[in-house]
Amino acid sequence: MNETEVLDILAETLKSIFDTDDISISKEMTANDVEGWDSFAHIQIIVSLEGEFGIKFTSAEVEGLNNIGEIVDAICSKLS
């Protein structure tokens, strides 16, 4: 799975969790750019991505992944 495919799935995940189609995702996007992306939303995103990709994030990753680009990189790294 390439980076673009991961990004597309991530975009769909965010749209589902925030119940909106109005999210234009970019690698620079952070939680600050999305209204409602708080700790609870973050947990939902992590759980959804772990399920979707069959991966597991460490606690350092859960807390330290600060933007979409870092999340995508982490996922791609785990899938490779």
Binding site: D38, S39, I43, E50, V62
Partner: protein, 298 residues
């Protein structure tokens, strides 16, 4: 002091500091005064036990981090990861390194987690209503000692105060934090406590979720109270943490235990950890803290 805490947290966990700032906006001036006083007290306490303020902040962030991972597990499984007291003992209570940061971190949550502060406020409101009837006060599993410390301020100077805890490190921490020679600290499993019918008021905050048989524990607490005696009980629902064993899914689960163990609920409150609409709170199983003053049937 509160501003210093938030700044330190912000430097290490921006997402969490954002939540704290949003929560504090909804709290009044009294909260800010009390939080400042509390963190000043903590600073002195930390120094007295060979720690410093930064240790407290780091301990708190470790608790936040642990809780986040537990919440992820809970969202996937619908269960707490800790299945037995043996698990909790191995993972936490018998592990001095974990107990140390965990107790300091939990102390910070009493003011930094809005719903914890709101329950503390409820305690401060209800205890004085019954203070004239309290002369033998027991706290079970008091942990860091904050509630005991608050009770001492509100009750008559001649009150007998006792704290029983199964953890020596908790007792040691409480002794330093409370810093009042009137308190009798007893290292004991509460099931071995022999003073049946002795106490007129028992506080047991956030203990039920740590035991395998919470109904049995409440029955033991009932035995220790005199007829008509009162207890202040708190317990959370849907609150995964590293040493939580018994899952209460709703406040009714807790009420059921209180009533089955021979108590009448006099006053109660419940506070969610997040400010979401009720539908979202229920759908996401957001943690809630339940608190009640209960009376032993005569």
């Amino acid at each position: 002091m509160l501003a210093e805490v938030i700044n330190k947290i912000e430097s290490k966990n921006t997402r969490h500091s954002k939540k704290l700032k949003a929560d504090f906006e909804g709290l009044d001036e009294r909260f800010h005064e009390e939080a400042n006083a509390f963190f000043s007290k903590y600073k002195h306490f930390a120094s007295s036990v060979g720690k410093n303020f930064d240790y407290g902040v780091d301990a708190y962030l470790k608790v936040v981090s642990d809780t986040l991972m537990e919440q992820i597990s809970f969202l996937k499984t619908g269960e707490y990861s800790c299945k037995s007291f043996k698990d909790a003992n191995e993972k936490v209570y018998s592990n001095p390194e974990v107990m140390d940061y965990y107790m300091h971190g939990l102390l910070f949550t009493q003011f930094l987690w809005k719903h914890h502060y709101e329950i503390l406020t409820f305690f401060r409101a209800v205890l004085p209503e019954h203070s004239t009837h309290i002369s033998r006060y027991l706290e079970i599993g008091g942990g860091h000692g904050l509630y005991l410390s608050e009770a001492i301020k509100m009750l008559d100077a001649k009150t007998e105060f006792e704290m029983v805890d199964i953890s020596e490190s908790s007792l040691s921490m409480a002794k330093s934090f409370v810093n009042d020679s009137r308190v009798n600290y007893v290292h004991l499993d509460i099931y071995e406590h022999q003073k049946d019918g002795y106490y007129d008021f028992i506080t047991m905050g956030e203990v039920l979720e740590h035991v395998e048989q919470p109904l049995d524990l409440m029955k033991q607490l009932n035995r220790l109270l005199m007829p008509g005696g009162l207890a202040f009980i708190t317990a959370p629902t849907n609150a995964p943490m590293i040493d939580h064993i018994s899952l209460f899914s709703t406040s009714d689960d807790i009420r059921d235990i209180l009533e089955k163990s021979g108590f009448e609920i006099i006053r109660e409150t419940e506070k969610y950890s997040e400010n979401y609409p009720i539908e979202k709170l229920e759908k996401l199983k957001v943690p809630l803290m339940y608190a009640a003053i209960v009376k032993k049937h005569i």
